[in-house]
């Protein structure tokens, strides 16, 4: 007979080992899927996870993909830690991109060191304002932030669509749905000649450090932690619940906005329909895989970024759709949630015993 019982205390070791277990199980399940598709499992996994980062260009690409994921996940960790379920980072990213892109187009062919900082600031503010919508609706009308933030994703995506097709489309662009290429003063500097890795990575690293300080060393971080553990206690302690909801959404939106503006001023260099391969949604997985811990999120963003690259190589070498990347992302989250069960419960095998009343 199997008995499941509650653990008295969750050990820190298990807390950080379960993500590793989840990744291992994902690899096993991935191998099985490749086998069923008729590939040699180990070889396929090698194409997926090793080949993409076996040269310098691959490593640079890994960091290019990990940068926005890490930034967004850092922001989301503020929300998730305090029990606010912001699912709309993708929309905040897009809106940040729109506002930042708008400023970049405004300063088209404009010289001056202040252009880029202005664009970045505009992107952060754009994302922040967009994230304030679900927060304010939650505070004053008690709406469900999951639904509102999710639906706003489509609002911002359609707005971007309209802008790049209509008013902001490139006048010399033969009606392609894209804006002009931003001028050089509006682009994040490339770190190494010939690679795409750009200065956005520093923004991500600074935000990781700041998040760590705020979450673990400040009163605000303490309030976020307590609210996440027990809203009843937060209320009893007299924390300003409404202000905090607004604040965590603003932090989260600003991070997503920065990620958006980092993409358009970094690798992309213009606005078009597909400025993000759903980074905003994937970052939710990153945040949880990293245990909502800034350092954990850095590692998680690298691992999940690898699934993006792996999907591209697999598409080339194995002729499987690039959506296999999403399959792997889904499996990571699935196994992570499943192995979290072990955090709170342990499984005991008992000999069959007859109960008497």
């Amino acid at each position: 007979m199997i008995k499941i019982e509650r653990r008295d205390e969750t050990s820190n070791l298990i807390y950080f080992l379960t993500p590793v277990l989840a990744i291992f199980l994902t690899l096993v399940a991935g191998a099985i899927i490749f086998y069923l598709l008729g590939f040699k499992p180990l070889e396929a996994l090698k194409f997926f996870f090793i080949t993409p980062i076996s040269d310098l260009y691959g490593l640079s690409e890994l960091l290019v993909k990990a940068t926005p994921l890490c930034l967004i996940a850092i922001g989301l960790s503020f929300c998730f830690k305090s029990n606010n379920w912001n699912i709309g980072a993708e929309g905040q990213l897009t809106f940040g991109g729109i506002v930042g892109g708008g400023v970049a187009l405004l300063f088209y062919n404009h010289e001056g060191f202040y252009v880029l900082p202005l664009i970045i600031l505009a992107g952060a503010i754009g994302g922040m304002i967009f994230a304030m919508i679900p927060a304010i609706l939650k505070i004053y009308f008690n709406t469900n932030e999951i639904l509102v933030s999710l639906m706003l994703v489509y609002v911002s995506k359609l707005l971007l669509d309209y802008l790049v097709v209509g008013p902001w489309s490139n006048p010399e662009g033969f009606n392609f749905p894209e804006t002009r290429q931003f001028s050089d003063t509006a682009r994040l500097p490339i770190l190494f000649e010939g690679l795409r890795i750009h200065a956005g990575i520093f923004i991500a690293l600074v935000s990781v450090f700041l998040a760590w300080v705020v979450l673990f060393k400040t009163y605000l971080g303490f309030q976020i932690k307590v609210s996440g553990l027990s809203l009843k206690t937060a209320k009893y302690a007299g924390f300003k619940g409404k202000t905090m909801i607004l604040l965590v959404f603003m932090v989260s939106g600003a991070c997503a906005g920065l990620a958006g503006v980092g993409e358009i001023t970094g690798p992309i260099g213009q606005l078009h329909r597909m400025i993000s391969p759903e980074y905003g949604f994937t970052a939710i997985i990153v945040a949880f895989l990293g245990r909502l811990n800034p350092i954990g999120i850095v590692f998680a963003s690298l691992i999940v970024a690898l699934t993006y690259l792996g999907a591209e190589t697999a598409q080339i070498f194995l002729q499987v759709p690039k959506y296999t990347g999403q399959v792997f992302q889904g499996m990571i989250l699935f196994f992570l949630l499943a192995s979290d069960f072990l955090l709170f419960f342990r499984i005991k095998f008992l000999r069959f015993k007859k109960y008497e009343y």
Partner: protein
Amino acid sequence: MNTKLKVSKISKIYPGCIANDNVSLNFESGKIYALLGENGAGKSTLVKILSGVINPDKGQIFLNDKLLKLTSPKDAKNNNIGMVFQHFNLFETLSVFENLSIDSEKNNYQLRILVNNILKKYNFKIDLDVPILNLSAGQKQKVEIVRCLIRNPKVLIMDEPTSVLTEQETEDLFLSLKKFSREGILIIYITHKLKEVLSLCDEVAVMRKGKVVSISRTVDEELSSLANKMIGESLNKIKKMTSHNLSGEQILSVSRLNFNSEDPYEVNLVDINFTLNKGECLGIAGISGNGQNELFQILSGETLSNNGSIKFRSKEISKLNPKERREYLMAFSPEDRISQAAVPSLKIYENVALNNFKTSNFFEKGLFNERKIKDHSKKILSNFSVNTDNVNLKSQFLSGGNLQKLILGRELITSPELLICFNPTWGLDVGAINYIHQTLVKINEQGKSIILISTDNDELLQLSDRISVINKGKLSKIMSAEEVNPEKLGLLMGGGLVD
């Protein structure tokens, strides 16, 4: 057909408390039986045993002289024992009919005919196809009753059914119950409301501290005799000496406080008025669920009240949150010490930091001053004799008594002018209870004031200078502790009036 239910020598022991102590009762159909008692008297345990939710340690149950084995709620159902709990077990978004069909073996067509017959017979007006969430509390209860009636129950147990009903709905319910009884259903009615016992029931069994202390016919009883039996004679115990100097200086005044809740399970507070002097302990008695929770939350600032209703040292504070009220030197010890007053998974020093003052400097310039908080926590642990000196211990590993000492210590170490505490000693062992009582007496002697909301009458009489009783969100007149006797307290708690 006649139904006889016999409960024989039932005992149920929980760690540290005997919930049912050798309980024997006889019930026969045609009558309505009341099971009367305070909170914790053992009524609910007995009911849960009868409905198969928990198993007794000892004793037997006989239905029509046949031994019953009730190991699960299903067994109770199969033996035609129906049960309506205080809190409804309905799916809010499903329709009435869907809720009824969930645990019925009949096909939908037959069931609908049956249900319609029941509705017609008892004149229940419920639309079967609206979702439960559109129904009033009284209608939801009718759905629960219909659910029992579908199974042709021999025994129907109602657990404090009127706590969420309006007066009119209560009257309707009583009419229906009397009708069921005439039709031969044995009815057991659990309550702590004295008036309901007299107006509805034929026989009454009174429980106190797990034992049946009296069985009698209601025609032989009146409100005061029942009150006496329910509260017990143990009341005239040691009272606190009200000798310390009461300066007459007013600390807190509450006037025309009203609170209307949207949540049907919460109690509305109606026109609460009282004042509190320096160095005084005001006790608020009452059976739990009569507005104590709501009153505590309003006094602590978790819920805000109408403007001008609360003044502390003649300053208006009704719109301040708990943190701001603490700055005025108020302190709060809530009933739920395990998950509200502290977070179990946080360390002791983190839990201490919850009570953060401007002057405490726990967070200088917004940064967490870990050393300062830890030093402060160590002081609390030693001053309030908490059984550890490890401030890094997670508070879930503290026993109830030590946790409560930590919480009281955290609240009191700042020398507040007023402490508001709610059931500060529930579930604690005698040693811890004594320590906490001594602490409360001591702070009174130091000229600090206390509002003690408690369901433990012994505690109230030991510690309070004046006592009021809360019933259905209304506060009785405030009596000095000397003039309170068991009869008065029991009457007020049961919704009666005293001159």
